[in-house]
Amino acid sequence: MKLSYLKALNRALGDELAVDPSVFLLGEDIRAAASNVTAGLYERFGSDRVLDTPLSEQAFTNFATGAALAGLRPVIEFQIPSLLFLVFEQIVNQAHKFSLMTGGQCKVPVTYVVPGSGSRTGWAGQHSDHPYSLFAHVGVKTVVPATPSDAYGLLVSAIRDDDPVVVFAPSGALGVRDDVDFSTLAPVPLGVGRIARAGTDVTVVALGHLVHDALAAADELSSLGISIEVFDPRTVYPLDVDGLAESVAKTRRLVVIDDSNRTSGFAAEVLAVAAERFDLDAPPRRVTRPDGAVLPFALALDRAVQPGRDQLVTAIHAVLEER
C-alpha cells in the first residue's frame, strides 16, 4: 500500500493516542487540521486529547512541560519552523533542563513536531528556517525523518521517549510516498542511522528531504561508474557516530549535505567527527546553506540558498579527485 509521509505522521499520532491515554496533542488549528497532520484525530479522540490553542506559543510550550511534569505525554504541533525561535526558551531553558536541574526528580516527555520545516518555496524569510542544528547543539534530542516509514517510526519513538524530542518533518519530504506494508510499521530507535543506499566509493551523509536528493545524485553518478553510499543518520542528536564510522571505513571518502547554515551546523559537526576519528583518503566536503542565510522570497533566490543536487555532485567529484 502507498503511504505518504504526511499520512505516516498522522498515523503515528493516531496510534499513540489510541494506545496511551496519557498522550495528547496541542497546537494551532489542529482540530481543523490545517496542516493535515492531525486530520481526523479530533473527531476520533475528542477535545481533551486534541487541544486547539490560542496563538500563545510561549505559554503553551511551557504548559506542555507542566502537563508532562504532572504525568502526561504532550505532543505539540508547530505551524511554522521559525516559531521554534519563539519557544527556544521554553524547550531549551525549561523542558530540557528540568531533569538535570532537579537531580533527576522528573521527566519531561514532550514531543515537538514541525511539519513543513525548511523552505516551503514561496514562504520567504520567516517561514523557511530549518533549525535542527540548534537543537542538536543544545543537546535536545532531534530527529529529521526522510521516509514515510521513518516518519512513522521516529515520531512514535519520540512520543514514547521520556525526554523532550523535536521532530522535523521537512516540507521537501512531506510529499514522499512509499510502498509500505502497514503491518511492518514500527518504532524506529532514536540515535540509529540507516544506509539508504549501499556503495563503496563515497559516503554521502544526508537528512530528511536531502536524502532523496542524495539518492538521485547517486543514481546519476552510478552511470559514471561511481558507487555512492547514502548514510541517513535520521537522528541529528544523538548522532549515530558508530554507524557513520562503519560506512566511512568502507568508502574512506565523505560528503555531507545539510540544510543548515554553514557555521556550527550539522555538517560542521560531522566533519569535526571525521577529523577526530576517521581515516580519510581525501578532505571531506560539505554542502550547506550559506553562512547566516535568510531565505529570500523569489523562487530562484530561495533555491540558490538551499543546498542542491548539483553542488552535491560537484562535491562528490571533488573528494574523488583529491587525495
Partner: protein, 316 residues
C-alpha cells in the same frame, strides 16, 4: 492551621535566610542567594491553604516557598551548598530547589516562566481525575513578561485550577513597580476574567484567608484566582548587593518597609512563652539542619551530567 503554626513557618523562613546569608559570607554557599526576608507571610499563608496533593512552582527568591511547603531544611541547606544530599543532589542550587514528593515542581530562575508550567500541571492533573490545585509564585517584575500574561489567558479560557500569587515587593531588582507596570497589577488579571484581589502580604492570616477562598474556587471548578500580595523586600535583591551598594531605595523607605514585619505581626498573636518555645524549636531544627548539610558529601565531578536525560545517552 493555628496562629502558632503560621508563626513557626515565618520564623523558620526568616532564620533560615539569615543563616543562609551567613553561609554566603563564609563561602559555604557559592553564587549567593535572593533573600526572602520580609516576604515570609506570603509563602506561609499560601502554602498553609494547600493540601497534600497540590503543587507549587517557585521563583529565584524561592527558599520561603519550599520551606513553607515542608521541605527538609537540611536538604535545602545542602542544596544551596551544592551537596549530594541536597534536594536536587546539588544540581540545582538556590534558584532551582525542587521536591516532587511534596508537589514542588521546581523554583524557576526565568522570571515569568513558571506560571505557564503550573497552569499545564494543574490542567493535566485535573484531566487525570486528580483534585490538584497549583499555586504559582512570581514577582511584580513578572507582570511584564508576555509568557505569564499568555498563561493567564490559557488558565481563564480552560478554567484551570491555578492560583496566581504575585508578590509585589515594589521592585524588580532596582526597577520600581510604578515605573514598570502600566495600569494596575490586578486589572491585568481581571482583564482575562480572572478574579483579582490585592491583599496585605505582610500578614500571614490574611494571605491564608485569601488563598483558602481561591483554593475553594479552584477545587469547585471555577478556575484561576489572582492574588496580588503587597509586601516589601527587607534585604538585598541578591546578596551581591551587600557589596554593591546600590542606591535605588532611600534608608527612610527601607525602614518604613521593615516596620511591618511579618514575623512580628504573627509573633504578636502568640504568648511570649509560646513564641519563645517556637523560636527555640526553630533554632534547634536549623542547628541540626546546618550541621547535616555541612557534613554531607560533595558530588563526584565524574557525574557532572548525571540526570541530563531520563534515558542515559552516550555522551561525547
Amino acid at each position: 492551621m493555628t496562629s502558632q503554626d503560621l508563626y513557626r513557618t515565618v520564623r523558620l523562613i526568616r532564620r533560615f535566610e539569615e543563616r543562609a546569608i551567613d553561609f554566603v559570607r563564609s563561602g559555604e554557599i557559592d553564587g549567593g542567594i535572593h533573600p526572602y526576608i520580609g516576604q515570609e507571610a506570603i509563602a506561609a499563608g499560601v502554602c498553609a491553604a494547600l493540601g497534600p496533593s497540590d503543587v507549587i512552582t517557585s521563583t529565584h527568591r524561592g527558599h520561603g516557598h519550599v520551606l513553607a511547603r515542608g521541605v527538609n531544611p537540611a536538604r535545602l541547606f545542602a542544596e544551596l551548598m551544592g551537596r549530594e544530599s541536597g534536594l536536587n543532589k546539588g544540581r540545582g542550587g538556590s534558584m532551582h530547589a525542587a521536591d516532587f514528593s511534596l508537589g514542588i515542581l521546581g523554583a524557576n530562575a526565568i522570571v515569568g516562566a513558571a506560571g505557564s508550567i503550573a497552569t499545564g500541571a494543574a490542567w493535566a492533573a485535573r484531566r487525570q481525575g486528580r483534585d490538584t490545585v497549583a499555586a504559582t509564585f512570581f514577582g511584580d517584575g513578572a507582570m511584564n513578561e508576555g509568557m505569564l500574561l499568555e498563561a493567564f489567558n490559557l488558565a481563564a479560557l480552560w478554567q484551570v485550577p491555578v492560583i496566581f500569587v504575585c508578590e509585589n515587593n515594589g521592585y524588580a531588582t532596582t526597577m520600581p513597580v510604578e515605573s514598570a507596570v502600566a495600569g494596575s497589577v490586578t486589572a491585568r488579571a481581571q482583564a482575562f476574567g480572572i478574579p483579582g484581589f490585592t491583599i496585605d502580604g505582610q500578614d500571614p492570616e490574611k494571605v491564608l484567608a485569601a488563598t483558602k477562598s481561591a483554593v475553594g474556587r479552584a477545587r469547585s471548578g471555577k478556575g484561576p484566582t489572582f492574588l496580588e500580595c503587597t509586601t516589601y523586600r527587607f534585604d538585598a535583591h541578591h546578596t551581591f548587593e551587600h557589596r554593591a551598594r546600590l542606591t535605588y531605595r532611600t534608608t527612610e523607605e527601607v525602614s518604613a518597609g521593615r516596620s511591618r514585619d511579618p514575623v512580628e505581626i504573627q509573633g504578636a498573636r502568640l504568648t511570649a512563652v509560646d513564641r519563645a518555645d517556637v523560636d527555640a524549636e526553630v533554632e534547634a531544627l536549623l542547628d541540626a539542619a546546618a550541621g547535616i548539610a555541612l557534613g554531607s558529601a560533595h558530588p563526584d565531578p565524574a557525574a557532572a551530567l548525571a540526570y541530563l536525560y531520563a534515558s542515559p545517552e552516550v555522551m561525547r
